[in-house]
Amino acid sequence: MRIGVFICHCGRNIAGVVDIKALVDRVSTLENVVYATNEMYLCSDPGQRKIQEVIKEFKLDRVVVAACSPKMHGATFARAIEEAGLNPYLIEIANIREQCSWVHQDLRKIATEKAFKLIKAAVAKVALAKPLEPVYVPLTRKVLIIGGGVAGIQAALDIANGGFEVYLVEKSPTIGGHMAQLDETFPTLDCSACILTPRMVEAARHPNIHLYTYAEVKQVEGVVGSYKVTIEQKPRYVDPEKCTGCGDCAEVCPVIVPNEFDQGLGGRKAIYIPFPQAVPAVYTIDLEHCLNTEKLIVCEQCYKACGPKAINYLMGPKEIEIEVGAIVLATGYDLWPIENLREYGGGEYPDVINGLEFERLLCSSGPTGGVVRRPSDGKIPKRVVFIQCAGSRDPKHGCAYCSKICCMYTAKHALLYKHAVPDGEAYVFFIDVRAAGKRYEEFVQRVMGTDGIKYLRGKVSKVFQRNDKLVVWGVDTLSGVAVEIEADMVVLALPIVPSQGTKELAQMLKAPTDEYGFLSEIHPKLRPVESSMMGIYLAGAVQAPKDIPDSVSQASAAASKVLSLFSNKQLALDPIKAEVDLEKCVGCGECAKVCPFGAITMKKRLDKKKRKYAEVNKALCQGCGCCMAACRKEAIQVEGFTLPQLRAQIYAILDAKPTKVEIKKKEGGNEDKTAIVKPR
């Protein structure tokens, strides 16, 4: 055995704390180590070349790199030794930066000792390493996209245009998401629907996109490459094949309920289409409000009015099973409930509204036909107060983060309000204006310079009612004056939170989230659209608050990740997988019980006794090691992390030697077990 040890200075990151020279001297005396050296930056090109040269010159068959975390450069060094002719699994990384020098900055001596032990352990472990080959598993080159907002639509179109099949699932009756609700978009003031609806139609008509609206993902099984997904299609009670979208049914429907698409400010019938350009243009019966129950039909107005006879009150939910290789999560955002802000009269005064409601009031296809009217009495508000950071940047309300888009949409709201009500006044309370986007600052400056829009730097303390006015108590900290404004309407820029159901979905996919419920990316800078659960990609506000350009860019980025995954016909997986030793396996089935991925099945042997044994599905196995801990016979081991390897590592750290002790089994009979015995 010929092991080479390479110790990295990492500039002063490691060398500033650990005594590298002493370390090299001690490491070179270890058993099996034929070469030990140090380098300023091992990850650099000259550093990697040095490793490769030494491997050839000293005929090394194993390598230990003492440097940063293997998460950082494990792959870099594995590739380097592979290029030098070694199997990429015959390397061990001793993490002497994150786990040593960074956490023991003031303890040089102890840090040096710890670094030595970590390297010694790595040497002991790598001595037992075996060459491994990647595991190839089949790859279903189809993708599931959950969420049909602008991010989901963009990702679907990009992947579909790349030539792969897409299943786009949306829980509401139409795709389009929040963007479809917006009036105009900042900073260009493009009509939101005008730029979005062509995309919606394109997605629905694309031959590679299977669109499931009014549907939800019910179950996901499997792992990257082969997920089995169950989609539940809720019943529309209208046959989408027959419905022409003429609207004769809604005209005769006697029931009127608040329209969710208009944030409840306008009405819709019990048979409805959320908005005129909805995709698909198919009507839906909201059975909760329809006069007909499942068994009793008391009103048949729509049925009678429907020319193509598309209505079927007895339609049931449908389950659709599909198989995909990757999943893009684009479930978007909701606004934080306004009722949480009692000091601003949220939920108490009808004229204290949120940004999306104001958006609907501005919209020419909205409930007021684009005339801004306040919800309480329908009057045109002549003085509107906008409050930014209404809940965001507020750790006391449990939302410490900046919701990012409010500065811009509030500026837009104020401007559009002035366009709609030229003699009106708009006041904007802000703490900071964050306009860091292309042409954003220019836009905000334009709004601030518009006659009749006043920006006040300060947060509002409370809003209360006086006669039919809303009194706003605020402050302008720039002039040092506390102010009072008698407003007709107050618009709150509420925090952006993950949409309802995101939490359950993340749990189902085992994809980690942050403390606010947004999905976590694997690396905040370098891998921002991938979940740490391989095969799951993130697009849009599901990851953090985002505006339209950011959501669309991220969606395209997620699509490119999926396309690069699908560029292979097979999926090469890391061979860090459980392996069963058939000689030792007694078929007790404990491993199959504890496996969190359902990767182990019990099979019968072909011999006469038909004893059982465990079989591992390598595609499903994630190498977590639960089975290894559960197996009493040490018959199942995770490659690269076998029990002998881990034991050798621990013995090396403890300076202990394995000693055999006999442990009596209950049923009688002896079994050899190893235990750690400290030397005297």
Partner: protein
Amino acid sequence: MRLVLKKNDGLLKKIKAISGEDIYACYQCGMCSAGCPMGQEMDLLPNQVIRLLQIGAERQVLHCRTVWLCASCFTCTARCPKGVNLARLMEGVRLFLLRTQKEDHFSPQQMVKEPLPPIALIGALRKFTT
């Protein structure tokens, strides 16, 4: 007059020791000043008191009326998004002044011009005397 800023955090440390409040948690949103019922009477708004302390302009703070006008109604404390207890901070400044100057700003005789409930009297005495 241009204020010359230099490092002098003695006052800040003492006020922190007395009140236990971290003034650097404040991000100057002004919500305290917006809701303060005594704000009209103050020469500095509550957020300005914190701001002057943050930038090290302690002289201005020690001579302001604001800390004495603060009625400890806790409106600001209840609303502060960053959880800064301004009432305690104001109390900290008052206590600092009283302890260093060792003089009473009011005598009980001055205060009790009309009958006060005992609890209010004690509260007022605690606030204005050493």
